[in-house]
């Protein structure tokens, strides 16, 4: 990442930048080392367990077992049918299917469990360090730093994070679209029996819905775009998409952004406010609140002037001369104030996001702060 003003090639600047980076890295490493030896005692009171380290995640095991039981139920047509329903296995019952789930617990709970184990071994459910999730926190922290390193300059570590996220996110979108939309709406429509048997056991469907072939067909044409020879076929789903949205937007934009916005201008430019007094007939009896009235009227006028002048700026078939030119100039001022406000709000948002990342580093990873009592 080269800075502005000075050319990237300036060796002095680059040396300074590298030195700066080295210093920052050194500081980070020093802090890490310090953090690792300054013992982080986990848990509170006499349950406290001192263990050197941080960025750990602890889990508690939760055993799940299920048994199937046959039962007769009335089908839709009233006939008795034999159905097999799965129920959680009762204590002592040997489950036909069983697995263990691991639920996250705070370090405090882990410390307490450690003490309990020491006192009376093999009683409570196991509470232990979750190495996959601990590794996850560390991976996330390192990736966070890797991305931040882009501020220094584009570098391999950053490119690594970049290429990882490109792959993962593309895959993520594909998977979510598949499971949440394609399976229920496409597979569920065209091959309901198979879908119910293997993918969505609780799917309820009234047989094959042949209309599902339409999006499937369009989708196949869309996939034709992958191959150069038949890619022209992809024009049809494209036209479908563009057409649908052109129709939607033509109506909805006019309704909510043109008609409804004009409607909001049905506001009197002269507003008379009365001082709020206690008592039932206050509104009648109350003297006029001049400051309030003038303020309200003024803002009403200013809004009207603003809307009209900014609209004038967006006239394209007329040269901006004379009255129109002057009005348009006022419009530009309004636009600039609008942009200034927008800038302020955006800055606020960006800083909040940065704060969130630092909170992750300090809280989940380094355990420097603990606002929500996780460790």
């Amino acid at each position: 990442m080269s800075q502005l003003g000075t050319p990237m090639v300036d060796p002095a600047v680059e040396r300074r930048a590298n030195r700066m980076m080295m210093v920052i890295l050194a500081v980070i490493c020093a802090l890490l080392a310090l953090r690792a030896v300054v013992g982080s005692s986990v848990g509170s009171g006499d349950a406290a367990v001192t263990e050197h380290g941080f960025g750990m995640v602890y889990v508690q095991e939760a055993k799940k077992g299920f048994v199937a039981e046959q039962s007769k139920e009335k089908a839709a047509d009233g006939t008795e049918v034999e159905v097999r329903r799965w129920k959680p296995a009762a204590p002592g019952q040997t489950p036909e299917i069983a697995w263990t789930e691991w639920n996250e617990v705070t370090a405090g709970e882990w410390a307490a469990a450690q003490r309990a184990q020491a006192a009376a071994p093999a009683s409570a459910p196991v509470v232990t360090v979750s190495w996959p999730r601990t590794a996850g926190v560390w991976f996330a922290a390192l990736m966070t730093l890797a991305v931040l390193s882009f501020l220094w300059r584009d570098n391999p570590v950053y490119k690594l994070a970049e290429s990882v996220v490109v792959g993962v996110s593309a895959g993520y979108w594909m998977i979510v679209a598949t499971w949440d939309t394609l399976v229920p709406k496409l597979a569920g429509a065209l091959v309901p029996a198979w879908t119910k048997a293997h993918l969505m056991p609780s799917l309820e469907s009234a047989g094959v819905d042949w209309w599902g072939l339409v999006p499937l067909g369009l989708g196949m044409l869309l996939l034709c775009r992958l191959s150069a020879r038949v890619s022209w076929l992809g024009i049809f789903p494209l036209a479908f998409v563009v057409g649908t949205f052109a129709g939607l937007r033509f109506v909805q934009n006019v309704e909510s952004d043109l008609v409804a916005q004009v409607a909001t201008m049905f506001e009197p430019l002269v507003v008379v406010k009365h001082q709020a007094l206690a008592g039932a007939d206050a509104a009648v009896a109350a003297p006029i609140d001049w400051a309030g009235s003038i303020g309200a009227s003024l803002s009403a006028v200013l809004i009207l002037v603003g809307v009209l002048s900014v609209l004038a700026y967006f006239f394209f078939s007329l040269e901006h001369k004379g009255a129109l030119g002057r009005t348009a100039k006022v419009g530009v001022w309004y636009l600039m104030i609008t942009f200034g406000a927008s800038f302020g709000f955006t800055v606020m948002g960006r800083i909040a996001l940065l704060a969130a990342r630092f909170e992750f580093l300090f809280d989940d990873w380094l355990w420097l702060i603990d606002p929500s009592g996780k460790h």
Binding site: A140, V165, V168, P215, F236, L238, L302, F314, F345, R350
Partner: protein
């Protein structure tokens, strides 16, 4: 052909907004569109794969990163489709794939929680730094317009945090003639009056613009989405 299709579905969408008997048609078209949108994600993924594989096979510069991308992509697809580490739905423990794909503790969840989230959100956070350098470099009071933009940004920035309250706390809050001068109130006025008016006018203009462009697609005048002009 394609143009006809576009106009047809477009007009259907317009009509269904007004003609009750046609409402079902509108929902059908939208339903197809939604499924198509999902298929488009698959196309997107396949495209990414194709692109990076070509990069790798051609040993382009940085093909190693392409390999990482492909790896990450394939791993995500794999664990996502097979719901690795996600337990089945307790009502149907016998159906392996009946579980929640994003179940906490699963591999897919891990990738989301520890790879996708931190990287994307940190990329977002980078903007705080860029916005700072932009303010130092780009925000110069060159002319009236710039002064207005700058002054507004000042008032909003200060008025939305506690320092604004402190700076103008000397202005009596109960005197309506002057209390509007307090920074927090001033920023409120800017938002409610000036920003309101400016944004509303832009909104109206943009709505008309979008309506016109949509209309041209509906009647087949605008075919730029087909690429070549004809």
């Amino acid at each position: 052909m394609a143009v006809v299709l576009a106009s047809l579905v477009g007009l259907v969408m317009v009509l269904t907004a007004f003609v009750r008997p046609l409402e079902f048609l509108g929902t059908a078209v939208v339903d197809w569109f939604n499924v198509l949108a999902a298929i488009a994600f698959v196309l997107g993924g396949a495209n990414l794969l194709k692109m990076n594989l070509m990069k790798i096979s051609a040993r382009d510069a940085g093909w190693g990163y392409a390999a990482i991308t492909v790896g990450a992509f394939l791993v995500t697809i794999g664990v996502g489709l097979l719901k690795v580490g996600a337990h089945p739905d307790p009502l149907h423990p016998d159906v392996a794939l009946s579980g929640d794909k994003e179940a906490v503790g699963g591999a897919f969840w891990w990738l989301y929680e520890y790879a996708m989230s931190p990287i994307t959100s940190t990329l977002f956070a980078l903007l705080a730094f860029y916005v700072a350098s932009a303010a130092f470099r780009a925000f110069r009071a060159k002319n009236t317009a710039a002064i207005l933009l700058l002054g507004t940004a000042f008032i909003v920035l200060l008025g939305r945090v506690y320092v604004g309250v402190l700076l103008t706390s000397w202005i009596p809050a109960d005197n309506a003639w002057v209390s509007w001068l307090r920074l927090e109130n001033l920023s409120g006025i800017i938002m409610g009056v000036f920003n309101n008016a400016g944004t509303r006018a832009m909104m109206i203009g943009i709505a008309i613009g979008i309506a016109a462009t949509s209309l041209k697609i509906l009647v087949g005048l605008d075919r730029s989405y087909l690429g070549s002009g004809d």
